[in-house]
Each structure stands twice: as C-alpha cells, then as structure tokens.
C-alpha cells in the first residue's frame, strides 16, 4: 500500500460452483451490493473486507469462469477487470479452487498467475474432499506456487479468518518457463506488460498457438499435482450420481422437472396472492387517507398528484414485489442445490430447435412472473447472441401484469360454459392466451436464430453438472436481497416515472368542475379532454380496424406504466370510479358500452379477442424497455423490440378482429 487512504482492491475469481459467492459472503458479511462496471451486464457484486492491518479492502466477486479468455461471443469481463481495462486494476486476486476438482480448477489459476498480480489461493470444499477420501495437497501447492494457500469450508465459515489474514501476504506465482521452450522463447520478445498480455499478443498473430498453450498448462498442472488430480474421483460423486439416476432418468427426469416447475408457478401465483391483496389494500388505505386530509394542504391538484401519481406509482411497483421475491428465492435455491444445471440439461434439446439452449430456460420461466427479472436473469447466459435472443423473446411470456387485463375481459365476456366436463371455457381461453404467448416467443426465436445460423455459428451447450449440495440459507437470502434491491431500483424508478408522467397526461389541461356531474362523471370528462384523451382520439382512426374506440386507446396508452393499469383506467373512462378486475360495475359498463355512431356494442366478441391478442404480443411496459436497453446495451435493440412487438400485436389484433368480424362476431 502506497498511501494510507488508497483502499486496496481485491478481485475474487474461480470456476462456477466452487463456493465463491459463499466465500464472498463469509468475507464481506452483509455489506454488499451489485458491482457497477460500465457496460458489464453479468452479475458481479462487491463488498468490503476488514483487513488485519486495520484498514479495509474492496472485494469484487467476478463472474464464475473456466478461463480468462472469453470464447468467441462471451463477455471478457473477468479478463478486462483483472487487466484494469474497466476501472482500476485490482491490487491482488483471491483465487477460489474446489478441492474436489483441483485439476480443472488450477487451469484458471495458471492463467490468472500469468497476469503477474499477487495471488492468494482458497482451497474450498475441503470437507467434501475429505469425506470422499481425497488427499488434498495443500502443503505441496503452498510450496510450489509460493503463495498463501488456505483450506476453507465456506458454508461453515471454516478457514475464513485464516484467509482474511493471508490476504496481506499475496504473492505473484513464478510462471517463467512453464509453457515450454518454444513458446517461452517467442513470449520473451512479444509486447505486453505481463505474460498474459504477451501471450494474447502472440496469439492474435498466430491463433494456432492456443492449443499448444492449453496443453502446456495442463502439463504444468499434472506436474504440480504429481499425477494426483488424475485419480478416480467417482467416489466424491457417489451420492450425486444416485440422485441423478432419478432426476435425470429419461422418463422420471422430465416428470420431476414438470413437477418442480409447477411448484414454482404455484408458489408465484398462489402464495403471493394474499400478500399482494394486502399490499393493494394498504396502498388503497393510504390513498384514502391522503384524499381525505391533503386537499386542505396541497389543493385538489396536488392531492391528485400524490394519490394517483405517487401513491399509485409506488403501489404499482411494490405490489409485484411478493411474486418477484418468491421467484428469486426459489431460483436461488434451485441454483445453489445444483438442480438448475439439470433443468438446463433436460430442456436443452427442445429449446435447441428454436435456437435457444437450456440456459435460456430460467430467464424465460422468470418472465412468466415479470419480464424485468427475466431479462436480468439472462446475465447467466455467457453466449452473447443467445443472450440477446432470450432477451428478445422474454417479454412474450405472459407476465403477471397481463393477468388483471385478461381476467377483466374474460370474466366480462367469456361465458363459463363447461367444456368436456372437466374444463370451462374461461379457463381454456386463459390457457390459450398463455400458449399463444409461448408460441409467439418460440416463433420469434426461431426466425431470429435463422439470421444467425446463416452467419454459421453453433451454440455449444457446455454446462457443468455440479454435485448436489445443501444450499446455505444465508447465501440464498443474501442473493435474494441483492437481486430484489436491484429489481426495485431498475423497475421501480421507471414504473414510478411513467406513472407520474401518465398522471400528468391524464390530468392536464384541467377541466372546470361542471355542476350536476357526479365525481365519477367529472373524472371521465377530465380524462376525455386531457392530453391522453386527445391522444386516444388522435389514434382512433388507426385503432378502428382493430375494433377499438378512443377509450380503449387511452387504456392501452396507460398500460405503459404497467399493463394492469388498463383496468383502473377503464374504470375512470367509464365513470365507475375506483375499479379492479373483479368490479361488477366495470364489467357491466363494458358490456353496455355502445358506439355512438353505429349504435353497436363496442365490446363485442371480435373486439374482446382482438384486445386479448393485442395484450398477448404488445410490449407495453416502460420498465421492460429500460431494463432491455441496459442488458442489451443498445437503444436500437430495445426500441426495435418495442416497436417490433407493437407491430406484431397490431397485426395479431387486426387479423383477429377482421376474421371474427367477417364471421359475424362483431355485432
């Protein structure tokens, strides 16, 4: 340390599933947040570790990687951070190795050593190694690498204090001469500040050298381990193999998989229900109090801003939180036990046929709760093209914000006729809407992946199937907190901003209060004459062919805050006051609405299904657009997706309406 004030920066690297996050948690405690590297979209966290010398160091948990070198389409985050190309260069690196699988783990370590940075090595999972009867060569590694090597059991906090103490003793690993004479001779004359940079420069000129380099590294490891890593490690996997025989069974595996996913769905939609109702009630109560007491203080307009803009906006975000947290919790659990990799293994084949892979499964599954965490979850897909593909189709999965819209329209217009005894028509329509979204997503993926195929690149699925492990509750909960906070920040700010903007569009210009109008009628008048109302009127000619009038147009505009706002907005347009999807008044108002020109019912069968078709495909969600822009790092992509899906929705609605109208369902 040169100056007392300069905080030391430590990088934490390791293969996936070595217990790196658990160790990170043990070292930093709860003081952690999502690390922000400009342009980095993979998950990285940072926190601070108290050093023995008294000060603290910043520890950055870099994404798990098998090699520093990014393969063709992956992000080069780990390498760039460690070379100091994204912010300050770390002062030292903590390398986490899985003691049950040293050979493969040491490969990354040998690459990191070539960076010339001081290292400390943590040998994690020594408990598992011992249980399996593996003799962990801690002393040999310490001697041959010349750096501190500390045995740890991260889940139990064992060895963490020793590791913390060792951080001050980080040393570079002498690697000179390790790559064989020929390569070393050329390396000596190559440009670059460290061996790694010189290697990269050499290989940029002559890519053939890489195979030689990789083989040399493994030869170095074999020598380092004295043949030890070669022993049969099957014993360490005996328990895992017994479980896999069931969970990856050709028939049993998919059945268990469906059951697990069913459970996740069930949890998201039924367990969250009561909490969500509670939250809605709480915000309603808050709004009620504000409406009662604020007018004296802020006037009518100020009250409306607080009640409809602020409280409504915050409520729209918070109401999703229970679902999102349950989703994140279950996903964290499935990840840490090792089941997620099995799920990817099982669904890879079907997803492959549309250009996706098993790794896209989780983002798509998450999108059934909300596309925002779904898009965020694509960070775990290392392959850039596939990640973009998953981001592209995620918003087509039916998110829970669409449900109130579906529920309102189906309950009001689809009779609950029994079908084939066990089903009823309402349920079947809902199922159809889900399936339409999935089919649309798969089709879009299929078409988009054709473009890529033409450029001739295969998506290699290489997933590690780690041993099953008991997750640590602390780890799962910390991950939940960090991800939940990230969600609130990303989605919350946008939803809130859009809500306030929409409040403005619907509240201005102000209309004078007319005598003889009820409160609800006055609100309807205000909306009709507002900017939003005028926009709805302006859009009407374009919406006519879909069977919509300006009122539906306003509802669609309002959906950009979050789709379920459609329902409340319909309540205002139709002068029924406060309304949710279960409001009988609103259903009746929709049923009775007639087109002033033709006198026909506005919500006829053709319009209702056209509207449903529109909601299946349209990307009406400011938060999704914002998060897509961030994750895809491209406004062009985000806006292209927004307008592309709006067009898709328009065409689907147009086709639906015109077909049904031609069949006589528009009366």
């Amino acid at each position: 340390m040169t100056t007392a004030t300069a905080e030391r920066l430590l990088g934490l690297v390791g293969n996936p599933n070595v217990g790196k996050s658990t160790l990170f948690n043990a070292l930093t405690g709860v003081r952690q947040r999502v690390a922000n590297y400009p342009g980095v979209t993979v998950e990285a966290r940072e926190g601070s570790v108290a050093l023995d010398s008294g000060g603290a160091a910043r520890l950055v948990d870099l994404p798990g990687a098998y090699s520093l070198r990014p393969s063709a389409a992956d992000e080069a985050v780990v390498e760039e951070v460690l070379l100091g190309r994204r912010g300050p260069r770390p002062d030292a690196v903590l390398v986490v190795l899985d003691a049950t699988n040293l050979r493969r783990n040491l490969f990354l370590c040998s690459e990191v050593a070539d960076l010339g940075l001081p290292l400390v090595v943590a040998l994690n999972m020594v408990d598992e190694a011992r249980r399996a009867g593996i003799d962990v060569p801690t002393e040999e590694l310490r001697e041959r690498l010349g750096v501190p090597v500390v045995e740890t059991v991260a889940i139990r906090g064992e060895g963490v204090e020793e590791l913390r103490a060792a951080l001050a003793q980080a040393r570079p690993v002498p690697r000179e001469g390790s790559l064989g004479e020929a390569l070393e001779a050329r390396l000596a004359s190559a440009p670059g500040a460290c061996r790694w940079e010189r290697l990269r420069a050499l290989e940029a000129e002559d890519p053939q050298l890489r195979a030689e380099e990789v083989a040399r590294r493994y030869a170095w490891i074999t020598e380092l381990l004295h043949q030890r890593g070669e022993e049969d490690l099957a014993r360490a996997r005996a328990r895992t193999e017994r479980v896999d025989r069931v969970l990856l069974h050709p028939v049993g595996g998919p059945l268990v998989f469906l059951a697990v996913m069913g459970l996740v769905f069930q949890a998201i939609f039924t367990w969250a229900g009561p909490v969500m109702e509670g939250i809605e009630a709480a915000f309603g109560w808050l709004g009620g109090i504000a409406s009662a007491h604020l007018p004296g203080l802020l006037g009518e307009l100020g009250t409306s801003l607080v009640v409809d803009g602020v409280i409504g906006g915050v409520g729209a975000v918070v109401v999703f939180l229970p679902q999102i947290l349950i989703l994140f919790f279950l996903l964290g659990l499935l990840e840490d036990t090792g089941y997620m990799a099995r799920a990817a293994f099982l669904v890879d084949r079907p997803l492959q046929s549309v250009g996706l892979s098993g790794r896209s499964f989780i983002p798509l599954l998450s999108s059934f709760a909300c596309a925002v965490p779904g898009v965020m979850a694509t960070r775990t897909i290392p392959h850039r093209f596939e990640r973009l593909l998953a981001i592209l189709v995620a918003p087509l999965m039916t998110c829970s914000a669409r449900l109130p819209v579906y529920a309102l329209l189906i309950a009001a217009f689809v009779p609950a006729t029994p079908v084939l005894g066990a089903f009823n028509l309402q349920g079947l329509v809902l199922l159809g809407l889900y399936l339409a979204g999935i089919a649309g997503g798969l089709l879009v993926a299929l078409v988009a992946s054709r473009f890529q195929r033409r450029r001739g690149r295969l998506l290699p699925l290489v997933v590690e199937l780690p041993p099953y492990r008991w997750p640590s509750w602390r780890g799962v909960l910390l991950k939940l907190r960090v991800r939940g906070g990230d969600f609130l920040k990303r989605a919350g700010t946008v939803i809130f901003a859009v809500s306030v903007a929409l409040w403005f569009l619907m509240s201005f210009p102000r209309q004078p209060v007319e005598s003889g109008l009820s409160e609800a009628e006055q609100a309807a008048l205000q909306l009709r004459e507002s900017y939003a109302g005028r926009l709805g009127h302006a859009l009407e000619p374009a919406l006519r062919p879909l069977g919509y009038d300006w009122k539906i147009g306003v509802g669609i505009l309002a959906s950009f805050a979050a789709r379920e706002v459609f329902v409340g907005t319909m309540g205002v347009v139709y002068s029924v006051g406060e309304a949710d999807e279960e409001s009988a008044d609103l259903r009746a108002a929709l049923r009775n609405e007639r087109d002033p020109r033709s006198g026909r019912r506005v919500f006829n069968t053709a319009t209702v299904f056209s509207l449903l078709a529109f909601y299946v495909f349209a990307l009406q969600c400011g938060a999704t657009v914002a998060v897509v822009k961030r994750e895809a790092r491209s406004w062009r992509f985000a806006l292209g997706q927004l307008f592309g899906f709006l067009l898709l929705a328009y065409l689907a609605a147009l086709g639906t309406y015109q077909t049904l109208a031609a069949l006589g369902y528009a009366a």
Partner: protein, 78 residues
Amino acid sequence: MTTSLANLAAGRCARVHSFSPGAECALNLMELGLVPGARLTVVRKAPLGGPLQVDVTGAHLALRRNVAATVIVEPLAP
C-alpha cells in the same frame, strides 16, 4: 481405433485423441480439461438427441451432441 465422443454408449470410457478439423469449440473444451490424453467417461445421454453427460477427471460436463461429435476419442476397454 478412434471414434467420435457422440458415438460412445453411456457407461463407456475413452481417452481424448484429438478434435475434428475446424471444430469451433475445441479450445473451450480443452480449457475444460478435454485435452488430448485426458480420460473421460460417458455417464448418460439425454433422450431424443439431447446432450451427453461426460465425466472428465471428476468434473461432469453436459455437451451437446453436435459438440461431442467434434471430439475424437480412443475407446478404452470397459
């Protein structure tokens, strides 16, 4: 006698021999331990042309069939 990894039946052991020319992910696979000379075991194959589960000195990897087809191996006696 060599064959491709995709042709090995579940339960068979083999040694990595080489990669078919032009194999795009050969280097990625080598980094994961599939270097020439390394011993591997096919643990199972997912049904309907799904991925292979391969044990490479203790680490279990899932490889797609088209990727496995680029790995040339020498089968070892069972």
